[in-house]
């Protein structure tokens, strides 16, 4: 007999269940491609356990999004005001439809990722493109027939909007803007929300599990149980918030995010490997860019790139073999400078000045500068107190207002000049910062 439900083992959520028509989406080419895209790019070169892929993360996000949808649409929790501004929460047919949309949006939210989940999209994609725009198109164009053929057919444009969110949904040049209703905005927050979104919850839990670090762990069971649609007192709009009982869970999540950024995602060696891969791809890809249409993009998996790296290890083009060598033989550039608060006090442009000085002393090809802008700024969300009042998390938490913004800036040099550059910098550093 044909199985109507499938269970997939998962190290984070134990079992992830999906229906047979959802399985068709999972078995589609865009989703299967994610089996060959590392969740954390080349991070496995420094954390050997980081070999997990976007595929299992996508399943995890679907599982968590489904749980959150059930919690926040629980009729017992809904006030009259919520029912008034979001009539969908009282309509069982609408809820069934949108739950399916949210699950599929969560499953598909990463289908547009570049190989190695590469973050240098501005450099490696044509102007105006990012992985969210590719995701939006793949959902609308490649997966639309599967969504239309489901037992409960869903509109691909709904899936695409909820998957990508209002921030990253590509806007057409001339036709009316793609607008988000309040309901759609709340649903996309479940997945993409900066503070409490399930994309973030899953990758923190999953990455820390695979890397073997404890920083990313937090009590997501308790946190999810306390999530709620609340009317934000600042603008009277519905948004995802929490009951006061979940505040410590939310603090733990946001602290985990900060620690993971500083300890893993912004690790100096991870950052330089990303840069070296970008250098190689710019040199190797036709016109230095990935294609944006899925038909052409689909062959570009990590395996395909790794083959290219191997092929070019002894390339006749010395520049390519040199770039490959930096990754494959671990001849990566070494950090000679990291931005620090003392230097920022002296000069706001400290790292850029040091980069320029090193470039002028040793040549641009021997120096790399990496600046990752501040992340994790938004820790404000509504909290419902036990007496029913709603206030901002920043007032209710002693921790969140003091949480630093995660940010790094590094300057690296070629390993052959590392000692020389380090000595030179120690002599000249103060003069450079006085500029």
């Amino acid at each position: 007999m044909k199985k109507l439900y499938h269970e997939i083992r998962d190290p984070i959520h134990m079992f992830i269940r999906l229906k047979d028509d959802e399985r068709k989406v999972l078995d589609s080419e865009p989703l299967q491609r994610l089996r060959y895209i590392h969740q954390l790019g080349l991070t496995y070169l420094l954390y050997p356990g980081a070999t997990h892929k976007r595929f299992e993360h996508s399943l995890g996000v679907m599982e968590l999004a489904s749980r959150v949808f059930d919690v926040v649409t629980n009729p017992v929790e809904k006030t009259d005001k919520i029912k008034d501004v979001l009539p969908e929460v009282t309509d069982p047919i609408a809820l069934s439809y949108w739950k399916q949309v949210v699950r599929m949006a969560a499953l598909c939210h990463d289908v547009g990722h570049l190989p190695f989940s590469h973050s240098a999209e501005k450099q490696l994609l044509p102007v105006g493109w990012n992985h969210e725009r590719i995701t939006y198109n793949v959902v609308n164009e490649i997966l639309s027939d599967i969504f239309a053929g489901m037992r409960l057919p869903i509109k691909p444009e709904h899936v695409a909007k909820i998957a990508v969110g209002p921030e990253k949904t590509p806007q057409p040049e001339k036709t009316p803007q793609i607008d988000f209703s309040r309901w759609e905005t709340v649903l996309s927050e479940i997945i993409t929300g900066d503070a409490l979104g399930v994309d973030r919850m899953d990758y923190l839990l999953r990455d820390s599990h695979h890397l073997g670090v404890a920083y990313g762990k937090f009590d997501h069971y308790r946190l999810i149980d306390t999530l709620k649609i609340l009317i934000s007192p600042s603008d009277n709009e519905p948004t995802i918030g929490i009951e006061s009982g979940g505040l410590h869970g939310a603090e733990a999540l946001l602290l985990a995010r900060y620690f993971m950024f500083m300890q893993v995602y912004y690790h100096r060696i991870r950052c330089i490997y990303d840069k070296h891969l970008e250098d190689f791809l710019k040199e190797w890809l036709p016109k230095g860019k990935f294609p944006t249409g899925f038909t052409k993009l689909k062959k570009y998996t990590d395996n395909f790139i790794l083959n290219a790296l191997t092929d070019h290890k002894y390339s006749k083009k010395p520049i390519l073999s040199e770039l490959v060598n930096r990754i494959v033989n671990r001849r990566h550039f070494k950090k000679v400078y990291e931005l620090n608060p003392e230097d920022v006090e002296k000069n706001n442009d400290a790292s850029q000045l040091i980069n320029k000085a090193l470039c002028s002393e040793f040549g641009e090809s021997m120096v790399r500068y990496i600046r990752i802008p501040g992340k994790g700024g938004d820790v404000s969300f509504p909290v419902e107190m036990s007496d029913g009042r709603v206030d901002t998390s920043l007032k209710k938490s002693q921790v969140l207002g003091k949480l630093p913004v995660a940010k790094v800036e590094f300057v690296y040099v070629h390993p052959d000049i590392y000692d020389k550059a380090k000595s030179w910098l120690s002599v000249n550093r103060e003069d450079i910062l006085k500029a």
Partner: protein
């Protein structure tokens, strides 16, 4: 515009708004920067989309985060009211000293927009910035207030007709005053 020049303008905007008694939350900065860009043509190159509370720039949000990371801004949470205020730090003040040239070139526009938007609440800001978005994106022909009002309530049905009409009136006045002074 270089990043430091842009930071100097945003810090000055916050300082001027606070001096005029503004709450100076993120929405105030978002909408004021939008007006500076679209009405006063200050070359701050952020992309704005029509979002929950009217035009919103996620790029500006990232830069505000970055400015906090650089200790140029701090968030101040007040007992009354809701969202945090953006307050320049002492280091932000020193930073401004170093960028007097950039500031003085644009101070009049910043002063004007701080005066006109600083004390508005979030709902008013939403209406005014949405009206400006409709005008700048050619959603109506010409500056007909009735047509703009109709569009504002179409995009933002939660805004009442009278409030939308008032927002459109104020927005057109800002545009007209700016055109006269330029």
């Amino acid at each position: 515009m270089e990043r430091n020049q842009m930071y100097a303008l945003i810090l000055t905007l916050a300082r001027e708004m606070l001096n005029k008694g503004s709450w100076c939350g993120e929405t105030h900065l978002q909408k004021a920067v939008y007006f500076l860009k679209e009405v006063f043509h200050i070359p701050i190159d952020f992309e704005y989309i029509l979002y929950k509370y009217g035009p919103f720039s996620f790029e500006l949000r990232d830069e505000l985060t970055e400015m906090r990371a650089c200790s140029l801004f701090e968030l101040m949470v007040k007992e009354t009211g809701y969202g945090p205020s953006y307050v320049p730090t002492p280091k932000g003040g020193e930073f401004l000293e170093k960028h007097q040239g950039t500031i003085s070139d644009n101070l009049q526009s910043i002063d004007e927009i701080s005066e006109k938007l600083g004390k508005k609440d979030v709902k008013d800001l939403e209406g005014m910035a949405t009206a400006l978005w409709i005008i700048r994106n050619d959603r109506v022909v010409g500056h007909n207030p009735d047509a703009i009002t109709k569009e504002v309530t179409k995009y933002k049905p939660q805004i009442k007709d009278d409030d939308a009409r008032e927002s459109v009136k104020l927005t057109l006045k800002i545009i007209s005053d700016a055109n006269k002074s330029m």
